[in-house]
């Protein structure tokens, strides 16, 4: 015991330590354990006392100098750690306590916050500018301009319109973007007295789509023409859903097909079948690897952000159109950051890239 105590004293007299500290800027769920022992100590075992006071092994190391981050801890609770080290002549043991505390800001996410604030401010600024009456140029999006033409064609032929809000659930922003377009489309269909078919893959999308179409018919003063069964659930299964829609296209022969939202491997199956029926087709998705299939088989395609801009574009509301200019500012900013980043990396200055890609 005396020998151990002596060894302990001589070790702590120098730079040898076991240090337990709170990991900064986190949710108070981690402690950083660092140790610094003479080179003679090779077999190190780090243990933590559980709620019953029994030591549980955490980490085995051969390095006399090292660190370990213990995670999944409860904030503001004291934890006890023991480091045992063995050399050829003796065994030493250290015990240290630590309390993880939660902070109010993830400092590592500073770059995300700055970027989000700059983009949001730009969008709000342009909305304000539009409110002041400033004329902001927005380029034409053919796929959206053709919507009215497509509905008109369906009305002339006496055929329905098919709207597919994608295959994702309501938690996907593309589905929400698609449903906001559905609102405009449903109102136009109500005005033209054209039937609308909206098959849904998810129950939550079904209930939202029904409300949207019902409200659209009511706002067009055509509440009597609204048919609840026009918005219906098919199946959750990916290819079962596709089979169902293909069947609808071949049987009902819609004159206009709209495929807006999230799509995966089934995109070409849908659009080629629609092409075969002679319908005018508009597609839109942010899934970059499905865009080529849509471009090949559809008359109009909304690429990436055009899907999210669609609702603002169709509303013709100055404020919403102003927000689209904010997107352009964001793109300009990203181009600048990429160019600066490339120059910095080539120059060997990595702090710029590191600031924007922190280890979370």
């Amino acid at each position: 015991m005396l020998l151990l105590f002596g060894a302990f004293c001589s070790l702590t007299a120098g730079n040898t330590t076991l240090n337990v500290s709170d990991v900064p800027h986190d949710a108070g769920d981690a402690l950083l354990i660092k140790w610094n022992l003479p080179a003679a100590y090779k077999d190190l075992t780090l243990a933590k006392a559980d709620s019953a006071g029994i030591w549980q092994e955490l980490n085995l190391s051969q390095e006399p100098v090292g660190e370990f981050t213990d995670t999944d801890l409860a904030p503001n609770q004291e934890y006890r750690y023991r480091l045992t080290a063995i050399s050829s002549s003796d065994t030493v043991s250290f015990i240290k306590n630590g309390i993880p505390t939660e902070q109010w800001f993830y400092l590592k996410k500073m770059s995300f916050l700055i970027f989000l604030l700059v983009i949001s401010f730009a969008i709000l600024f342009y909305i304000w500018l539009a409110k002041q009456g400033k004329d902001l140029f927005i380029r034409r999006i053919n796929g959206l301009d053709s919507m009215e033409e497509a509905i008109g064609r369906a009305t002339e032929k006496g055929k329905p319109i098919l709207f597919v809000p994608g295959l994702a659930d309501l938690d996907d922003i593309q589905t929400i973007a698609a449903l906001t377009i559905l609102s405009h489309l449903a109102r136009k269909s109500a005005e033209y007295d054209t039937d609308l078919i909206v098959p849904c893959r998810s129950s939550m999308v079904l209930s939202t789509a029904r409300e949207i179409v019902k409200e659209a018919y009511q706002s067009a003063n055509k509440a009597d023409s609204y048919k609840e069964q026009s918005v219906f659930y098919l199946t959750d299964d990916q290819f079962g859903y596709v089979a169902g829609i293909d069947g609808i296209m071949v049987r009902e022969q819609p004159a206009a097909n709209f495929f807006l939202g999230t799509f995966w491997a089934e995109s070409l199956i849908l659009t080629e079948t629609g092409f075969g029926t002679g319908a005018i087709q508009t597609a839109g998705t942010a899934q970059a690897h499905q865009l080529p299939f849509f471009i090949v088989s559809c008359d109009y395609t909304l690429i990436g952000e055009e899907l999210f801009a669609a609702s603002a574009y169709l509303s013709k509301d100055a404020q919403q159109l102003g927000s689209l200019k904010g997107h352009d500012f964001g793109k300009l900013l990203i181009i600048l950051l990429i160019l600066i980043g490339v120059v910095m990396e080539i120059s060997g200055l990595h702090w710029f890239t590191n600031f924007f890609s922190p280890e979370l």
């Binding site: 800027h25 949710a27 939660e102 902070q103 109010w104 800001f105 993830y106 996410k109 995300f112 916050l113 989000l116 983009i119 969008i123 709000l124 909305i127 659930d169 922003i173 929400i176 449903l179 906001t180 109102r187 849904c200 998810s202 129950s203 939550m204 209930s207 409200e215 659209a216 706002s219 069964q229 219906f232 659930y233 098919l234 959750d236 299964d237 290819f239 079962g240 596709v242 089979a243 491997a265 089934e266 070409l268 199956i269 079948t273 942010a286 970059a288 299939f293 088989s297 990436g304 952000e305 899907l307 999210f308 801009a309 609702s311 603002a312 509303s315 919403q320 927000s323 997107h327 964001g330």
Partner: protein, 232 residues
């Protein structure tokens, strides 16, 4: 009031989720976890809504003897059969109301639900997916036409990638010396997929990301209200 309450809920929920991304301290970290749990619970319950819609739509068509009503009846019968077999005898290692159905399992080789899943459903699904091969062929035949500089570029790239992604491609250029190994079709394919293709996809992803920010901001601030059904 009818529109204001949903807008307020959207504003509060949206801002809370944004704040919780940057603030680790309770209660913000707990809010995210709570909302995640709520979403998982609602997803489970919402499935029932879909099944009710399915039964309503199909049975209405059968009742009114609409065109091709027999197929809607088959759809309802299939739904019922899978539901009943699953409930009664369970599937795989999960027991049903009547246990594991050892008798039927001996006769069929599998539980009824599993038998139908493996011998009917799986093949139907694979068949639907296989349609993609035919449609790719017909779409390629129709769309890959040399019209302009861009379509020429598309054609050349398509030929390289189509050959490079097959066993044949490696054999066609496998004889090239090391100095010209960059012309080896699989390597050219990997280069095209890794650089020009990735660059274009990232550009689309970045602009889509900006679109998401703009769209979300409009929805959270109540500027965009189409999802509620009207702009008023």
């Amino acid at each position: 009031m009818k529109k204001n309450i949903p807008l307020l809920i959207v504003l509060v929920a949206g801002l809370l989720v944004i704040f919780s991304e940057f603030i680790p301290h309770r209660p913000f970290s707990m809010i995210t976890e709570t909302l995640e749990n709520w979403f998982m619970i609602i997803s489970g319950f919402a499935m029932l809504l879909g099944q009710i819609s399915l039964i309503q739509v199909n049975s209405a068509k059968v009742r009114n003897k609409d065109e091709n009503w027999v197929y809607y009846l088959i759809g309802l019968i299939s739904f019922a059969v899978m539901l009943i077999t699953g409930l009664l005898w369970g599937m795989d290692k999960t027991a049903g109301i009547l246990g594991h159905g050892e008798g039927i399992k001996t006769w069929l080789g599998l539980k009824p639900f599993d038998y139908l899943f493996e011998n009917v459903y799986q093949h139907l699904s694979a068949t639907m997916f296989s349609l993609l091969a035919f449609f790719i062929a017909s779409a390629a035949y129709r769309a890959f036409i040399i019209r302009s500089f861009e379509s020429n570029l598309l054609m050349i790239t398509a030929v390289i990638v189509i050959l490079g992604r097959s066993s044949f491609g490696a054999m066609l250029t496998g004889w090239l010396p090391d100095s010209l190994s960059w012309l080896h079709l699989p390597k050219l394919t990997d280069f095209i997929m890794e650089f020009p293709n990735s660059a274009a996809q990232r550009a689309i992803m970045i602009s889509a990301g900006l679109g998401v920010i703009g769209s979300s901001l409009r929805i959270i601030l109540g500027i965009e209200r189409s999802y509620l059904g009207s702009d008023e």
